[in-house]
Symmetry: C2
Amino acid sequence: MREKLEKYFSYVFEKELLDEIVQVGVYKKLRENEVLVDLGDKMKGIPLLLEGAIKIVREDKKGDEILLYFLERGDTCASSFASAISNGKCGIRAIAEKESEIIFLPKEKLDEWLVKYKSWRSFVIDSYNIRLNEMMETIDSLAFMRMDERLYKYLTDKAQIMRETSLNTTHQDIAYDMHTSRVVISRLLKQLENEGKIKLHRNKIEILEF
Amino acid sequence: MREKLEKYFSYVFEKELLDEIVQVGVYKKLRENEVLVDLGDKMKGIPLLLEGAIKIVREDKKGDEILLYFLERGDTCASSFASAISNGKCGIRAIAEKESEIIFLPKEKLDEWLVKYKSWRSFVIDSYNIRLNEMMETIDSLAFMRMDERLYKYLTDKAQIMRETSLNTTHQDIAYDMHTSRVVISRLLKQLENEGKIKLHRNKIEILEF
DNA sequence: TAAATTACGTGATTTCAATCACAAAATAAT
DNA sequence: ATTATTTTGTGATTGAAATCACGTAATTTA
């Protein structure tokens, strides 16, 4: 745990803070598709992502869902932070897109560290900002882009997060993330293939052009 | 300034912090439609909203815009906070929807107060959370709702923020905020009027049902 | 290996919103 | 008061996406 922590956080956190994290943090391995946070959960702390990729999804009453953004190593879940500190509920669901490793930090320390460590304050503020910006990008996509553009952005973004040029996914899964129907996705994927940007296989999409 | 500050923030901030705010804060009155923050601005501090209503808008390269959310008294602009602390640019525009009063807090104090005042930490974290939740609501609207539902939500939300049951606005203005065309808005407004939810006048919309 | 399930392909139709085109009413400017 | 501008109303058309309805291919399961 210490190694991984050093690897991605030694330039982010002060030595003393790293020590504290090692002491109180709980290491956890997530298997693919494991649900880390679910709608309405009360958070007992927040996760630091050491390795892997986590999908953050919003769901409404009717069960419709839409992808908000992905987290990658070095990230934390800003929604959890608020929820943890205020004892409120979390309005999102977090699912591991692939096997991932996290350190779970207990909420009792979160406020204490804000006082003690400048690096922690920066990290928290930065995290919020990154997340606000991601949300704005999502809003941009929904408000300004056509479905084919959104789809291509989805594919390239996800490939980047997953650090792969091929995605193992079905058309239906993409449709869920983008809140549209499988038929629409299938057609647009075929169109992207005809444009030479991707190559389609069963359960797999190769991205040829970024 | 002290009075207004006490009125909305005496239960939020400690006495010592209120004193500091009075010392370093710069009071400013905004006239209707005044631009408080523009795209790409570097923030030298953050605004506390004492009175009035401020619209936060996102704009893309092509000049298309969409409303993100409204701020009301007691609120602050979370986007500015990050931008101020990190010296980064602000991706939004803030416009006074009506005459408003703010206190501008210089960025030098923001981090210092995080260490000194528990109430400041809570306020900042809460602000971020409220904003994240507002953004999620905006995403919900865009992803899950039809235009007529979005429009009705827009009208009732705005009426609430403005503390009026009538809105002084044109169909075109609404169209800009919702990133659609005037024709679409006119038709849907007429439809809402036929349903008895609103009453239309020139430059004015009465909301009959909340 | 046969049957069931899952994933993908594609035509046809419908719906919601965007766009075009124009007219009428209200208000502001000269 | 006449003209110009702004705001609103509405028919007709187009376009993107959603939905319906199948068919086929690849995999799994029995």
